[in-house]
């Protein structure tokens, strides 16, 4: 069974009496350990797809299964718990809370999962070490650079050991050098066995992932899987990598 199973999912919006199909009958599987890119121009529905996959929203039609849970039937409370336990988000604008320190930002998901203060501190430090920012723990987000902020956001996404990490244009707000470093970090995380879904409009960025799904007008226009073509030597079987987790307490 795949980690995420999407079956005939549609998402409709009503704007002034007009029906807009943001997603139209999309089906797709994501296995554990995969590194996948969802690409498409703006307005194509890729963000809507990410919101559905990330349990921020529920589909209008179709079924969506994440790690065996039926998302379309879940209540808002259950969706919150799933986002907290199984999903990590990295956003284009970092979305760190400016009033909290770097470490407090990383601790935030663990506060909502009810971990003790000591465990929160240990795990947040471990996550910051993983992204190379353990010496910035006491800084405020405004006192560090954009690339560092995005690393903090990645540490926050990692800290609860989620099943999958969604990154929405993670390099969109960074210069190309820092952007490359962030992408390299994602690649490294992928090598360590994390499941990562990268959402972007830029084919160059999407090129770092072995598997790419192209969305156009709410439909899957094209799907490229380098592994199937035998071109990507670095990809490993998902099962072997899934267990490795650097932030495991």
């Amino acid at each position: 069974m795949a980690l995420i199973e999407v079956r005939n999912v549609s998402k409709l919006y009503h704007l002034g009496g007009e029906e807009i199909r943001a997603l139209d009958d999309v089906s797709l599987d994501i296995d554990a350990g995969e590194f996948i890119a969802i690409i498409g121009p703006s307005g194509s529905g890729k963000s809507t797809l990410m919101h559905l996959l990330g349990c921020l929203d529920s589909p209008s039609k179709g079924t969506l299964r994440l790690d065996g849970t039926m998302i379309e039937k879940a209540t808002a409370h259950q969706l919150s718990r799933i986002r907290n336990q199984k999903i990590g988000f990295v956003f284009q604008f970092f979305n760190l809370l400016p009033k909290l320190t770097v470490q407090q930002n990383v601790e935030l998901p663990m506060i909502y999962s009810g971990l003790s203060g000591r465990e929160r501190r240990e795990r947040s430090l471990a996550a910051l070490k993983l992204v190379g920012l353990e010496n910035r723990a006491g800084h405020r987000p405004m006192q560090i650079s954009g690339g560092q902020q995005q690393r903090v956001a990645i540490a926050r996404a990692l800290v609860n050991n989620p099943k999958i990490i969604f990154a929405d244009e993670p390099t969109g707000n960074l210069d190309s050098n820092t952007g490359d470093a962030i992408l390299e970090l994602f690649r490294q995380l992928s090598r360590e066995g994390r499941t990562i879904a990268l959402v972007t409009h830029d084919p160059e960025i999407a090129a770092v992932t072995p598997r790419r799904i192209e969305i156009r007008d709410g439909k899957i226009a094209r799907e490229v899987d380098a592994r199937l073509a035998g071109l990507d030597r670095s990809s490993r079987a998902p099962q072997t990598a899934a267990a490795a987790s650097p932030v495991q307490p």
Binding site: G54, D57, L97, G114
Partner: protein, 453 residues
């Protein structure tokens, strides 16, 4: 997210907007302070009124007066005996719920003279030594007459300060406190020795006015003619005036020297003017009066020519007045607290609008409806609690200010109850004010909140 975390987050949020938070709290501070100040004022008034009630003997004192015979017994009017010493002895023997009985024989329009000066006391009564306790008198100089003085019908009297002031001069006139014990006066042309004097009774208000007057320089003499300015000043403390203008002599002295020849047509009149009784237990006032009534119906041969007079009406009046003050003051204070609460709600609504994005982030990483709801509610309650606590401190200052502004009134008194109620009210207002903003924040959709600019 547990409550402690929510409280910490709430404090941080308040600390981040210090000025705004203080302004918001100000509403609650003023509300709490006005609630406590109002109740302290009312408590002060209540104390003053209760003091006066105690001064006339308290609720447990019941007076027994002669009364018109009821219509159906009019034919028995000739046989009515009135209040006599028989009643006193009967009550002492047969009414265990009555603690104390004091007979009173009163003489009207008695003039006490000393040389050219004279004085007519309001109350000139022959009574037993226990009248001291019955009417809550306190002897300042000398002594109360005792049973032997009574037995021997000695010409002795104990006076209130008004008699002294009229015959010798008040401390204000003389510049020193004159002790009249041992002086001789003439009462209805009979020589009497003053053996004691009561203390000067006055309400808290009168005492303060007097002390304040001492501090001020002497009044400047104007050319306007001296005049009496009416009774308005004394009206408020009628009880104390009455007590100061009291002269007691032994009951037997009254009987032997005055009453035996003072009846109509010079026939001796053995009747008492009144008798006062003190009940053992105020809670059982009704039963005690009933018992006394039953005993008296025997001594009065079944003719109901007497009536009881209690201070219940007085106590009821006090309670009613206090209740009215409390309700009207309470409504105003509660309204000001509610206004403070509206201020909190307003600020919380503005605050969540500012923080929609933050709420979106928190929701995206797993905050549930309850998490956000509790966070906002706790913030509102923290503001209210801090405001409430500051309000309690402010109210102490306010009460001092009130006492300073009107130094002659009863001292306002802060009660623990008032503090607790005001604080509980402020917390309740904080919860109420937080509910709507908390609900609005918690209901936000994560995607829309994240997109909000």
């Amino acid at each position: 997210m547990n409550l402690l975390n929510a409280v910490i987050v709430g404090f941080k949020e308040i600390w981040a907007h210090k000025f705004r938070s203080v302004l918001t709290m100000l509403g609650i501070i003023l509300g709490v302070a006005s609630l406590v100040g109002m109740s302290a004022l009312v408590k002060g008034m209540e104390n003053g009124m209760k003091e006066a009630l105690v001064a006339i003997g308290g609720l447990e004192k019941v007076r027994l007066d002669e009364n018109d015979i009821p219509a159906y017994q009019r034919n028995l009017a000739d046989q009515a005996v009135g209040c006599t010493m028989n009643d006193v002895y009967a009550l002492q023997k047969s009414a265990p719920m009555i603690k104390m009985v004091t007979p009173e024989m009163r003489l009207r329009d008695v003039t006490i003279t000393r040389g050219a000066k004279f004085f007519t006391p309001y109350v000139f009564v022959g009574t037993w030594p226990n009248a001291l306790e019955m009417n809550q008198h306190i002897v300042e100089h000398g002594r109360m007459f005792n049973e032997i003085d009574d037995e021997l019908a000695r010409n002795v009297c104990i006076i209130g300060t008004d008699t002294r002031d009229a015959l010798w001069g008040s401390p204000d006139d003389l510049g020193y406190e004159l002790n009249p014990v041992g002086q001789r006066v003439s009462i209805k042309h009979q020589p009497f020795t003053i053996i004691g004097m009561f203390q000067h009774y006055e309400s808290e208000r009168e005492r303060k006015v007097r002390e304040l007057a001492k501090l001020k320089p002497a009044p400047v003499h104007t050319n306007s003619p001296t005049r009496s300015k009416g009774w308005g000043k004394k009206g408020s403390s009628y009880v104390y005036t009455l007590k100061n203008s009291t002269v007691y002599i032994p009951l037997n002295t009254m009987w032997v020297k005055f009453r035996s020849t003072a009846g109509s047509n010079n026939i001796p009149d053995a009747r008492l003017s009144a008798l006062s009784v003190k009940v053992r237990d105020v809670e059982k006032l009704e039963q005690s009066i009933q018992q006394a009534h039953n005993v008296l119906m025997h001594t009065h041969k079944g003719i109901e020519d007497f009536a009881f007079q209690t201070q219940e009406d007085w106590a009821d009046n006090i309670n009613r007045a206090i209740k009215n003050y409390r309700i009207s003051g309470g409504i105003i204070a509660v309204i000001s607290l509610l206004v403070g609460g509206i201020g909190i709600m307003n600020i919380m609504l503005a605050s969540i609008t500012e923080r929609i994005r933050e709420i979106g982030i928190r929701k995206a990483i797993g905050a549930t409806f309850t998490d956000i709801f509790v966070q906002i509610l706790v913030e509102s309650v923290v503001i209210a609690i801090m405001g409430g606590a500051a309000g309690l401190l402010t109210s102490m200052g306010l009460v001092h200010l009130l006492a300073y502004l009107s130094p002659t009134d009863n001292t306002p008194q802060i009660t623990l109850n008032a503090l607790a109620i005001a604080f509980a009210f402020s917390v309740g207002v904080g919860i109420l004010a937080g509910l709507i903003p908390a609900f609005k924040a918690a209901r936000l959709h994560p995607i829309q909140a994240l997109r909000y600019e």
